[in-house]
């Protein structure tokens, strides 16, 4: 059997917010391609998590339908712009993080002006947020969350309350020194699919302190380079159809690697540039000023005023219906190499919004899929723990039981440990014990009884498996004593069959 490979056929940055890659997966046996491809497509589209702004509190704004003096966009537009904002993070965080923005007009507020929390970066520093006139200032703080798909919030949700708490409680959060992460291409892990994302950030600040014309020039040049190379690439792609390219993918592959390298260099430089820019900006504005106008302080002051019944309306935390989906589009195709007609490979095309490298996305999706499927690995083990008989039905029953009744992650994990037949026998035994007790307290509704039998048992006040076993043995003995009972033999038979199937009674 050949090794299954994942190879990147083509990769390009269409622009900051659109990364494209094409992979070839395979070869698979005939029919597996669809399984893999479809699973990947669906997982990529629905299961990947992203980072987004979920809550925002703008100074002087009490509802999203108002406008700010001197700001060209209405608050609603600003919220929509923030919704569009593509953020990324190199760590996972469960607690929402706070970020700030402080901007005095005139100028266009873009994503690079945001003070983002540590480990959160914006992908496209030029993504616009608002346009300010000379007499305008825009101050707001916001929460950044990680999530999947999208959320629709209303201010009465519990989540909203929770977020509001966080937004108002955390006074001194470490802010990221660098606000933008131009490209996730920067990230390593080119060779291995499995690996933890690197923690980066702190060290890089030093090198970003310089900013001069030299860099500016370089940036321009690089941009031009980027454009032209991309253009060239595009035209090339434009001429050929996708299927054409598959056949010549070896060539493309080479091209791409060089392209990729160039790209990588380029992005490195741009990020560093931007960091520098930001630093000077900070210098210009003066940190003191920033501190003074920090939203918390102002809010505190305002709160005081409100309490005394001031007429000015307090600014409200406004929920943003956030999109977390990092993948824009996925396509796949099943390709059969004529040379090897019994094998097929999957060509997977991925467009991401720039917050994640397509390769990373494939990795994540695979992880998600594995995670999704992993519980099913346990099914082999369950019958052995119960030391019981026919594999088929009982197994499925227990499985169902274990998933339904003890669905907490912990138990699952424990089960998993058992399942993988770890060396720790005592743990396994414990596990077994637990299971047995669990089965004993299991409701008889889980057994496969006919309605008549079930109602009969319920009338007899028999609710759990243990009670049932007891009842059964009693009946057995009674039958042995040949004392006539009102329990019909058919019922008894059904009970015994069921219990046997369930593995509680010995077959004999």
């Amino acid at each position: 059997m050949k090794h299954i490979l994942l190879s990147c056929v083509e990769s390009r940055i269409e622009h900051n917010r659109s990364f494209y890659s094409r992979f070839q997966l395979g070869p698979f046996d005939l029919g597996q391609g669809l399984t893999v491809g479809n699973a990947f497509r669906r997982t990529l589209l629905s299961e990947l998590s992203g980072v987004g702004i979920t809550l925002i509190e703008i100074d002087g704004v009490c509802h999203e339908y108002s406008t700010l003096p001197g700001v060209r966009e209405s608050v609603l537009d600003i919220l929509l712009n923030l919704k569009q904002l593509v953020l990324t993070s190199d760590t996972t965080f469960t607690v929402p993080q706070v970020g700030y923005l402080n901007f005095t007009g005139p100028g266009v507020v873009t994503a690079k002006d945001l003070k983002l929390p540590v480990s959160v970066y914006c992908v496209d520093p030029d993504q616009p947020i608002a346009t300010l006139s000379a007499d305008a200032t825009l101050n707001f703080k916001f929460l950044v969350c990680q999530g999947k798909n999208y959320i629709i919030q209303t201010p009465v949700d519990k989540f909203h309350e929770y977020q509001k708490k966080i937004l108002n409680s955390k006074l001194n959060l470490p802010l990221s020194s660098r606000t933008t992460l131009n490209s996730t291409f920067e990230r390593p892990n080119q060779d291995s699919l499995v690996g933890t994302p690197l923690q980066e950030g702190v060290g890089k600040t030093k090198q970003n302190k310089r900013l001069n014309a030299h860099f500016q020039r370089q940036l321009k040049q690089l941009n031009r380079l980027k454009e032209t190379s991309f253009k060239a690439y595009k035209t090339k792609v434009g001429e050929k159809t996708i299927s054409d390219e598959f056949q010549t993918n070896s060539v493309n592959h080479q091209n791409l690697t060089t392209f990729d390298l160039r790209e990588k260099k380029l992005t490195d430089v741009t990020t560093s540039l931007q960091h520098g820019e930001e630093a000077t900006l900070l210098k210009e504005e003066g940190l003191n000023k920033l501190d003074n106008s920090s939203p918390q302080l102002e809010n505190k002051l305002k709160g005081g005023r409100d309490f005394s019944g001031g007429s000015q309306l307090a600014s409200q935390a406004l929920p943003v219906d956030t999109l977390f989906m990092p993948i824009k589009k996925v396509n796949y195709m099943i390709d059969i190499d004529p040379a090897e007609p019994d094998r097929e490979s999957v060509v997977l095309e991925i467009w991401t919004n720039g917050s994640i490298h397509p390769r990373q996305a494939v990795h994540e999706a695979a992880k998600q899929l594995i995670h999704l499927f992993s519980p099913f690995l346990q099914t082999h083990l369950v019958p052995t723990t119960l030391q019981s008989t026919p594999y088929s039905k009982a197994a499925s029953k227990t499985q169902e039981f274990s998933l339904n009744e003890t669905s907490t992650e912990k138990v699952k994990d424990e089960l998993g440990k058992v399942a993988f037949g770890s060396e720790n026998n005592t743990a396994a035994l414990n596990q077994q014990k637990n299971l047995v007790t669990a089965i004993q307290t299991l409701d008889i509704a889980n057994l496969n009884f006919s309605l008549r039998t079930f109602t009969f048992l319920k009338k007899e006040n028999i609710n759990t498996v243990s009670e049932l076993v007891e009842f059964w043995t009693r009946q057995k003995t009674e039958a042995k004593d040949s004392i006539q009972s009102n329990v019909q033999s058919s019922v008894l038979l059904e009970i015994s069959n069921n219990l046997k199937n369930f593995g509680v009674l010995p077959t004999s």
């Binding site: 669809l34 509802h63 108002s66 003096p69």
Partner: protein, 1416 residues
């Protein structure tokens, strides 16, 4: 080759002009006319005389502008002042005074009125035009008879008819018919004249009752006194005869009917024979008058009848110009019809008219002449808004006159003008009209398109029109004369079909009220489109051979040689080009605005096109608008004419641009645009002097006048002239008003004789705003030239997403090169970009600014050729304009009429200082300042060369339909804008283009039944991306009332209410708070009577420490199903509360809640082709079918929705949209493109798809085997669907029928007070009717308990439903009452021959049947 040659020189006229012109007509002449009609008002002795001087009327500026009026729930109106003179000829005194006649609601710039805070539209009425109409009636025996209706503008209705016996009668409402000869004679004609004038005098000779009369006539027999005695005796007979002969004569008294049989036998031929014959005549006019009166007043004692009475009757009915009015138009039409030459000033009936009507009628009887077609547009005129208001104003004046006459009668001494004139009658009449007339409608403001079409609507209903129930098919149908005037497509479905219509885009209404439509002359087959088009009304176009607009004219403007389709009258035939007289201006000529927004309209069935045009009006403005990829080119016109987008009034550069306001610094001409208003202060002085000096005739008069005038002088200077200034400033708010126009007094009136040689007012140099012809309120709106022309080119590529008006790249039209098949299309992509206006701050800004500042004239030259205001100013100017003398017109406009807001000189400095900080703007400003001319202009104090104009942007605002209206700035600081450029978008426009929906990727395929029966399947993307999220703003109103125990109070002290933190100290929810169902919006309490508590109760209260509340909670709470943010609170003054009440807190509050509505299952969506449906399911994007490139679809429609509906246009749109998506182009496809060859649409679509395939390399985009179809993949399985599917991108709208407003459920709820049955309707939380069919269903299934519950405790079983709860709690059986429905049920079962009954067991144990109907 320019295929648009023919269209280039003429453009679509302004869409709102119908409304504005008519109202300005009213202000300019109608009002004056109407008041002049009442002049002078005298008492019976003619000693006292009251005289108005309507020419000098003035209007005060409205206290609130249009927006404020809406917020404050007030009417947008002004006070009407008019000078009134009262002369007492006995005491020889004269008084002159300005009085207020009333409040006149004003039309806003956008063409509607604001009445009590809600915008209203006066729609145009289509009525029969005054004149005479000949009609024929066919009887059961195949006989044809004729009659003529004489329709007057105002006054009695007269019908002259020929009956089956060939007698001719005159008929009026409420009177018996009378012989025509008598009527003619009574009007003063003698018999010989009559007979001589007739074409067929033998009509009377041969068909008369008997020949005697003629013989008698010839003998010249003199009628004697005795004969008139006889005559009187004969009248009783005649009545009865006429009764017998004409059953339909209604006005016979009951007694007459009883008398009739008695006298029937006594009927004898008398001198006059019986009056059942029309050939009866009289000897003299006197006799005829006598007979006329006697005949029309059958109940009158014949002895009392005199000839004078007859005369006055005639006068009263037809001769009095105050009562009867044909109007000049009616006179004109009578003259035309009857070939008369009666003076057009005579607007009453003359004897001549009637004689010739009789003649024509007799001619018809002899088969000469034709009957009229009442549905012909030449016979139907439009009563526009201004005219309707004018009529109503006239009614008010009539009432006022009555009151004045009464008062003049009563008191002779100490009369003052003030006591005579009252504002009530006019206010009342106007309020009646605006408030309750069926023609004054609550404006449909769902989106700008709805608004604009509402203002262009024509209704045949309403007073003076037809009745919706009785209107037949003919009047609803499409008439050949509708072509180019009334849209055959756009009309409502249902009972109003055909009665409510829409004006077409090119049509206009002429001064007589007829719709005109333009045509180009065709000379020997050549279209004369370089000359101006000629407008024809339906009457004028008769007898002309008209070619339709979709004939292709070649380069030399020659029509093809083949036989061409033409229309002549109602006939459609073919002829050669030489014979054609005129040709339509455009193929779009015959359709209305909404219809013309449908691309590929020609491929849609009319019924679906109708729905398409109606549904576009229902589209909800979305939070983020998106212009259609496939449009027709009229989108920008709709947007600009709707007045919802902001356009620059003057060129200049933007110094400030925010969501609240935009400031533009623009150079000012040396000639002041605004008339020198300071002069106004002088005018009263002149007035004073001149009047004082000239009243020499009587000293007393002079003294009086002086006293009065000095008063006026002071007051007017403050009130009128002072306010005139603010008037102008208010003009920026889009105000339509007659400003304080002051003109020189003209001679010729009574007043002028008295005030001869004196100047009443000083004439200001320039007329303020309302010039003689200028429709007021038209602040110049000019289209971006790109747009204007853009409309004309069929296909345009628009490079997208500039923040400005989209840069349009036009396709030059050349021979096909890249086209897919040979006959494909005549469009190739010669890209030819039209640059946008220069933007400051780039390349060489200083140069451009300097240039612009130095020579504004150059700017002027660069103006678009088309100029709206030119058209509205006067026709001549307009045509001149079209000829190319636009510069002149433009400057005229600039110097004379352009009104700008008076500027505060401080402002520009500060704004400049402010913007100087901006990097870009600052730079620009710096350069500006450094340039020579600009430095001058910075000196604001001396010579203002630069002047800032500030445009206030509309913040989020509620429309009548609760949708949201707001402005979004488009320009950026430092940009240069030309006059007419777009400054801000509306919520439904993008770059000045109307955009009501979204372009969606869709496919026509069935999907698991989720699109069965027009249901629609959509992707979750539309939810998550907020693609169809709309904002809705609702208004909640509360006013305190007086109750039995005292006044209510708005307060935050509400008993037993937990959640109060969101209320302010008044008890009103604070703006910004999120409120949910049941929350208090406005806290209100009503006093309660003191309860008498028992001692232990008091003790209990004391122990608990609770006070007994004396108030009851009557707060306004958030209604069911609503949640949103409070965005605005308006505190108003109470209206229904007597002023003496003292209260705390606000008395009347309006509160606005904004709600975001995302799209969800149950919402209605539609395309533009009448393809509508309800969302049935929302799938996650990974489950949606996807294209070969991986893009998931947004929407899946049912393919079965197309064939039977025959709206194929949607397929074309969808495919062209797909091409546009992949090419990054936008298309403007004008409907009716078959001019350019067969199958043009298809070729265009295919070639574009092919081009898209070539450019993107996506082969699937165009597959020659199945063009326009693509293989799709199932998102769930990843498998390919078995058939290729039509996939494309179409423009889909979300309609206002949202489920959120309709979803409703009830288990328990309120009951009606009287019937005790559940209420109906969602707003009242009502139940659904369980009708008989539902009862049958339950009966059929044997669902006895369900049926029992529904018929009893869920219905009107009062006792039962009160006990239910208790029974359940105590585990008792539920007892039942006997609801009415139960009795019905018993009866129903009995009627099925089932022996069902109610039995009761009495005391002795006997079972006895109870009468069901007597059950309690």
């Amino acid at each position: 080759m320019n295929i648009y040659l023919r269209q280039n020189s003429f453009l679509v006229p302004d869409f709102i002009a119908v409304q504005r012109n008519s109202f300005s007509q009213f202000l300019e002449s109608g009002l004056i006319q109407e008041i002049s009609k009442r002049n002078p008002i005298t008492n019976s002795t003619k000693e006292l005389e009251l005289c108005f001087y309507p020419q000098y009327y003035k209007l005060s500026p409205p206290e609130l502008n249009a927006k404020q009026s809406i917020l404050k729930n007030k009417t947008y109106s002004c006070r009407l002042y008019i000078p009134v003179k009262l002369t007492n000829k006995r005491t020889k005194t004269l008084k002159l005074q300005w009085v207020v006649l009333g409040n006149l609601p004003l039309m806003t710039k956008r063409g509607h009125f604001i009445i009590n805070g809600s915008p209203r539209v006066i729609i145009n009425q289509m009525v029969r035009s005054p004149g005479v109409y000949f009609k024929e009636v066919s009887h059961a025996d195949q006989k044809l008879t004729y009659y003529a209706d004489l329709i007057a503008y105002r006054g009695a209705w007269l019908r002259i008819e020929l009956d089956k016996k060939a007698d001719i009668w005159a008929r009026m409402k409420k009177t018996p018919k009378l012989p025509m000869l008598i009527l003619l004679q009574a009007l003063g004609l003698n018999l010989p004249t009559i007979l001589k004038s007739l074409n067929y005098p033998k009509f009377f000779e041969n068909l008369g009752h008997d020949g005697n009369f003629m013989k008698q006539l010839k003998k010249g027999r003199v009628s004697s006194r005795s004969s008139s005695q006889e005559l009187s005796g004969s009248f009783n007979l005649s009545e009865d005869v006429s009764l017998r002969l004409d059953d339909s004569s209604k006005n016979m008294g009951a007694e007459n009917v009883q008398r009739a049989p008695l006298q029937k036998s006594t009927k004898k031929a008398t001198l006059f024979g019986d009056f059942s014959r029309s050939s009866v005549y009289c000897k003299t006019q006197e006799e005829a008058l006598w007979a006329l009166y006697a005949l029309t007043h059958p109940l009158k004692n014949p002895d009392e009848v005199t000839a004078n009475l007859g005369k006055s009757f005639l006068y009263r009915k037809f001769m009095n110009s105050r009562v009867y009015d044909l109007s000049p138009l009616g006179r004109l039409r009578l003259n035309q019809k009857l070939n008369l030459s009666v003076n057009e000033n005579i607007t009453t009936i003359t004897a001549q008219d009637l004689l010739f009507i009789t003649n024509t009628l007799i001619n018809l009887n002899y088969g000469v002449g034709k009957v009229d077609d009442i549905d012909n547009l030449k016979n139907r005129r439009i009563r526009t808004a201004g005219e309707l208001v004018q009529n109503q104003f006239g009614i008010g004046l009539l009432r006022l006159e009555k009151i004045i006459r009464e008062k003049l009668k009563q008191q002779q001494t100490k009369l003052s003008i003030g006591s005579l004139i009252n504002t009530k009658p006019i206010n009342g009449a106007l309020r009646e009209f605006f408030g309750s007339s069926p023609l004054s409608q609550f404006m449909d403001q769902t989106n700008p398109l709805a608004e604009i079409t509402h203002k262009r609507r024509l209704s045949s209903l309403g007073p003076g029109g037809v009745n919706r129930e009785t209107a037949g098919m003919a009047i609803r149908g499409i008439h050949p004369t509708h072509y180019g005037r009334i849209c055959p497509i756009e009309t409502p479905e249902g009972q109003n079909a055909g009665l409510v219509n829409s004006l077409t885009i090119y049509s206009r209404v002429n001064p007589y009220g007829f719709i005109e439509t333009p045509f180009y002359k065709v000379v020997k087959g050549q279209v004369q489109n370089s000359t101006r088009p000629i407008f024809f009304s339906a009457y004028q176009e008769e007898k002309k051979l008209l070619a339709p607009g979709d004939i292709y004219a070649n380069k030399l403007k020659y029509l093809p040689k083949s036989e061409l389709p033409i229309r002549k009258l109602a006939e459609f035939t073919r002829t050669t080009r030489e014979k054609i007289d005129y040709i339509s201006v455009s193929p779009l000529q015959m359709i209305s605005i909404a219809t013309s927004l449908i691309p590929f309209l020609e491929h849609d069935d009319a019924n679906r096109a109708l729905m398409g045009s109606n549904m576009q009006r229902q589209a909800v403005p979305l939070m983020t608008a998106e212009a259609p990829v496939v449009g027709t080119g009229l989108e920008c016109r709709v947007a600009s004419d709707s007045g919802h987008v902001l356009q620059a009034k003057k060129s200049g550069f933007v110094t400030y641009s925010s969501a609240e306001k935009i400031t533009i610094l623009s150079p000012v001409d040396s000639t002041p645009a605004v008339p020198k208003l300071s002069k106004g202060n002088n005018s009263p002085q002149h007035f004073h002097e001149s009047v004082g000096g000239s009243c020499k005739e009587s000293q007393s008069l002079q003294a009086a006048a002086e006293g009065y005038l000095s008063g006026v002088a002071s007051s007017s200077s403050s009130k009128f002239t002072g306010s005139s200034f603010s008037t102008i400033s208010a003009l920026n708010d889009g105000v339509l008003r007659r400003a304080l126009t002051q003109k020189v007094l003209t001679t010729g009136t009574n007043c002028s004789s008295m005030l001869k040689n004196q100047r009443f007012f000083v004439e200001p140099k320039a007329q303020l705003y309302t010039g003689a012809q200028t429709p007021v309120g038209r602040v110049e709106t000019i289209l971006q030239p790109n747009h204007a022309e853009g409309y004309l080119s069929e296909v345009e590529t628009i490079q997208q997403t500039q923040n400005k008006l989209p840069l349009q790249v036009r396709f030059g039209v050349e021979a096909p090169k890249s086209s897919f098949d040979s006959e494909a299309t005549k469009i190739s992509s010669t890209l030819n970009s039209i640059p946008q206006h220069p933007v400051l701050g780039e390349d060489s800004p200083s140069k451009q600014v300097g240039w612009a500042l130095k020579d504004p004239q150059i700017q002027t030259m660069l103006k678009p050729k088309w100029h709206h205001s030119a058209q509205t100013m006067s026709r001549e100017n307009w045509y001149q304009n079209l000829k190319g003398q636009n510069v002149k017109t433009f400057t005229q406009v600039e110097s004379g009429r352009l009104v700008t807001k008076p500027t505060n000189t401080k402002m520009p400095m500060s704004s400049l200082a402010g913007t100087a900080n901006s990097k870009k703007t600052g730079e620009a400003l710096y350069k500006l300042a450094s340039s020579e001319s600009a430095t001058k202009s910075m000196d604001f104090s001396t010579k203002t060369q630069l002047k800032p104009i500030t445009y206030e942007l509309q913040k989020l605002f509620r429309s009548n339909q609760d949708t949201s209206i707001m402005h979004r700035p488009v320009v950026r600081e430092g940009e240069w804008v030309n006059r007419g450029d777009l400054l801000a978008d509306n919520s439904t426009t993008v770059g000045g283009e109307l955009s009501l929906g979204k372009n969606l990727l869709l496919a026509y395929m069935p999907w698991e039944g989720y699109n069965f029966e027009d249901a629609i399947l959509i992707s979750e993307r539309l939810v998550s991306d907020d693609a169809y999220t709309s904002l809705h703003i609702e208004r909640y109103e509360v006013e305190i009332r007086e109750t039995k125990f005292g006044l209510e109070q708005i307060t935050s002290q509400i008993p037993d209410e937990g959640k109060l933190s969101h209320l302010d100290h008044f008890g009103i929810a604070k703006p910004g708070t999120w409120v949910e169902e049941g929350d208090i919006l406005i806290g209100k309490v009503a006093p309660m009577p003191q309860k008498n508590l028992s001692r232990y109760e008091k003790l209990l209260y004391d122990v608990v420490g609770k006070k007994i509340s004396t108030t009851r909670d009557t707060s306004l709470r958030v209604p069911r199903g609503v949640s949103g943010r409070v965005i605005h609170v308006e505190i108003l003054n109470a209206e229904n509360l007597p002023p003496e009440f003292v209260f705390e807190g606000p008395s009347r509050v309006n509160l606005y809640i904004a709600e975001k509505r995302k799209i969800h299952v149950g919402d209605k969506m539609a395309g533009r082709h009448g393809n509508k449906g309800i969302i049935s399911n929302i799938l996650p994007r990974q489950d949606m079918p996807y294209l070969p490139d991986g893009t998931p679809l947004d929407m899946v429609l049912n393919p079965l929705g197309v064939p039977s509906r025959m709206n194929v246009g949607q397929i074309y749109e969808c495919l062209l949209g797909l091409a546009g998506r992949y090419l990054g182009q936008k298309f403007k496809v004008r409907p009716f493109d078959e001019i350019y060859g067969p199958q043009t649409s298809r070729s265009l679509v295919y070639s574009k798809l092919y081009e898209a395939r070539l450019r993107t390399g996506q082969r699937w985009l165009f597959n020659p085997a199945s063009p326009g179809k693509t293989r799709l993949f199932d998102g769930r399985t990843g498998e390919c669907f078995s058939q290729p599917v039509t996939v494309g991108q179409a423009y889909m709208l979300k309609l206002i029928h949202l489920v959120d407003e309709k979803i409703h459920a009830r288990s328990i709820g309120p009951y009606s007070l009287v019937t005790q049955q559940p209420l109906r309707g969602r707003s009242k939380h009502g139940g659904q009717r369980l009708g008989e069919m539902e009862v049958w269903a339950l009966e059929g299934f044997g669902a006895a308990y369900t049926l029992q519950e529904l018929l009893t405790v869920k219905s009107d079983d009062i006792k039962g439903r009160e006990q239910v709860m208790e029974s359940i709690q105590k585990n008792k059986t539920i007892s039942l009452g006997t609801p009415e429905s139960f009795k019905v049920l018993i009866r129903e079962l009995q009627s099925l021959c089932l022996d069902v009954g109610v039995y009761a067991v009495d005391g002795s144990g006997k079972i006895k049947q109870v009468d069901t109907m007597k059950l309690p």
